[in-house]
Symmetry: C2
Subunit: 393 residues, 2 copies
């Protein structure tokens, strides 16, 4: 019967949609573990923290009291109000609930935003290195990612100047992530305003991915929502609220697009997870909010350990990350091939890290991403192992 299936034609878009290298590393790491070795797992973008207890308890209570039916496509009205309140309390920005779409993770938010705004062939400017799914979402819809190589001189971020230089007749959107994955850098408020103004001038849209908001160190990020109602903002309960496996995020949409987003959401998702939404209602209480704030301090301690430790090994970290939980380290003094290097570190030092290849075409062979998703003691162990591995080469 296999022959029957082998004849099936695969859509052309799949040629542009790559599997995650990080998943391959994860698979290899599990194999090394299965051989009886301890592996320090720093490959996946998911911290070791559990969902805050009040959120879990809210879910359990809702399971006892509510039938888990579909909610409206834009989400529970009370959750949309709570998110609106979060913008008011945390950022001092008015974002009415009518502009908030609750989504199946920020993944769902990206699909809705791109689906409503991008035609096949439309170009989107975005920083390279960057999160791989962004360009794959665009490809799924026939839109065309236009990576802009960025480096230390712009803190690995797209700027209004760069965007202006690369904006052409097919460009419809500029996308930024602040803090970014894999570099952990922020777009400053003034630059964000310039990007929003540029997109407006060009008749396009600025989309800001803020899913690592809250996880910033020594600085509180401002939201791109303050730059105008025409700016699209993506956020998530996954990272700051440690709800990765619940699959819940949100999208801030321009008032004029709310109806289109709702229509697409009805059709593509019917509704976000009711269980996750009831749980998330507990996120914004002071008791819950204290928990991610503690963890933010813990992540900062890890970061403060990790960056100098990597530098002491010979890695370069030209811009100290200010947010998220990644270091995008330049390994060019140690290797000419980060891909083979990551595999060697895994096989010989039993430390799992992600090679640059996942994040674009801008010198991926010179970079690896280390996620500080393990306690400092484990990071120390990882550094010691890599040090030994490097000295024995």
């Amino acid at each position: 019967m296999n022959d029957l299936a082998a004849r099936l034609h695969v859509a052309a878009r799949m040629a542009h949609i790559a599997p995650f290298e990080v998943m391959e590393i994860q698979k290899l790491a599990r194999q090394v573990e299965a051989q009886g070795h301890d592996v320090v797992r720093l490959e996946i973008g998911e911290p070791d923290f559990r969902t805050p207890a009040p959120v879990v308890e809210a879910a359990k209570k809702a399971l006892d009291t509510h039938p888990m039916f579909y909610t409206s496509a834009m989400g529970l009205p009370e959750l949309r109000e709570a998110i609106s309140g979060f913008y008011r309390d945390r950022y001092g920005v008015e974002v009415p609930a009518s502009r908030i779409a609750v989504t199946a993770g920020s993944s769902g938010a990206l699909l809705l935003a791109f689906g409503v705004l991008l035609d096949p062939g439309d170009g989107v400017l975005l920083a390279d290195p960057g999160y791989p799914c962004n360009r794959h979402f665009m490809r799924a819809l026939g839109a065309v990612p236009r990576p802009v190589a960025v480096g230390a001189e712009t803190k690995y971020q797209l700027t209004a100047d760069l965007a202006r230089r690369h904006w052409d007749a097919t460009t419809r959107m500029a996308m930024v992530a602040s803090p970014s994955n894999p570099t952990g850098t922020l777009v400053e408020a003034k630059e964000m305003a310039s990007l929003a103004a540029l997109a407006r001038e060009k008749g396009g849209t600025l989309l800001a991915d803020e899913i690592y908001h809250g996880l910033t160190y020594g600085v509180d990020a401002r939201t791109a929502a303050e730059c105008g109602e025409d700016v699209i903002v993506i956020n998530s309960f996954s990272k700051y609220f440690q709800m990765t496996g619940w699959r819940l995020g949100w999208l801030v949409v321009p008032p004029s697009l709310a109806r289109e987003v709702e229509t697409l959401a009805q059709n593509l998702f019917i509704s976000p997870s009711a269980v996750a939404q009831h749980a998330a209602l507990a996120c914004f209480s002071p008791a819950t909010l204290a928990i991610p704030e503690e963890r933010r301090a813990e992540l900062d301690a890890r970061r403060r350990f990790l960056v100098p430790a990597l530098e002491s090994l010979g890695f370069g970290v030209p811009v100290v990350p200010q947010g998220a939980f990644y270091v995008y380290a330049d390994c060019s003094r140690l290797t000419g091939d980060s891909f083979a290097f990551a595999r060697e570190i895994l096989a010989r030092a039993h430390v799992a890290v992600t090679p640059g290849r996942d994040f674009g075409a801008n010198a991926p062979e010179r970079h690896i991403r280390i996620a500080y998703t393990q306690p400092v003691a484990r990071l120390e162990e990882a550094i010691a192992r890599i040090r030994r591995f490097l000295s024995e080469r």
Copy 2:
């Protein structure tokens, strides 16, 4: 600020993606309720049953014992095994776990299947009337739904003969839903095999939506998975297992496409809901399975009441539905405009039903869909109210 957003360009695909009429009816029904009236709500495709208690308990237990991290993109291995076992036990068909992708509802399954198989411009044959999201998913990806008008003579289903007649150079897929929404009819096993053979002959794919499987009356449906490894099957925990708001479904994929589906799932979804997956692990125990079977008997009792009752009012039901929980009733003896008629019934009889418009372009003005998602006593009330309304016109 509104002016800023109003200038935004909306993607062309949105012109093909309509809001659900049923959502509009739902909104109107809530308005009538808010005026203090009791409304019999028969518009939404969601029964009044809660998620089976063992499933809810499994979720609560998992929340106590498991961190709710991302799972692998294809789903928890033990859930994929359980679904594979379900095919063996219920249908006597071998579907290895490696061919099963756990998805964010059948919505997620549709997006993955269409995304991997359909290029922009590719045509898909499907029955009209049919579930509206199907054609909207295709449009989101630039593919082209090719509705085939069907009627009582084929039990409102696409047949191999019809598909052969409509298959042209751009056609890549035929899609069937068995039982179907809105007509509740089945594709018989022999016809399904003919459809699979035709798709194979034409170098295309057959996709079978089986999300209402289990909810069939006087007959147990066979699965299209028995027709060959090249047939794509969609299923869901929503309807038979009453888990609508959890957003969990699955996709049976040809072996040769499993890797492509995994890649697309990684990128578009990261992972299905971990909470929902842990809950769903409890679905296949005998104690749980007894619950949907009881409810199936209850739905059958509703169906047996509703069909003759509608006929006694002057509605036509040319093919008695054998599955799902819908009656697609011909109202042409009562009205020339089902759209206005549904609104009138709501406003004057306080019964909410869905006009044909949601389901395609094949005589929608002659049909309404009634969902028997309320107990018989409520259906009796609905019929009495409609009878009064009709007599007073």
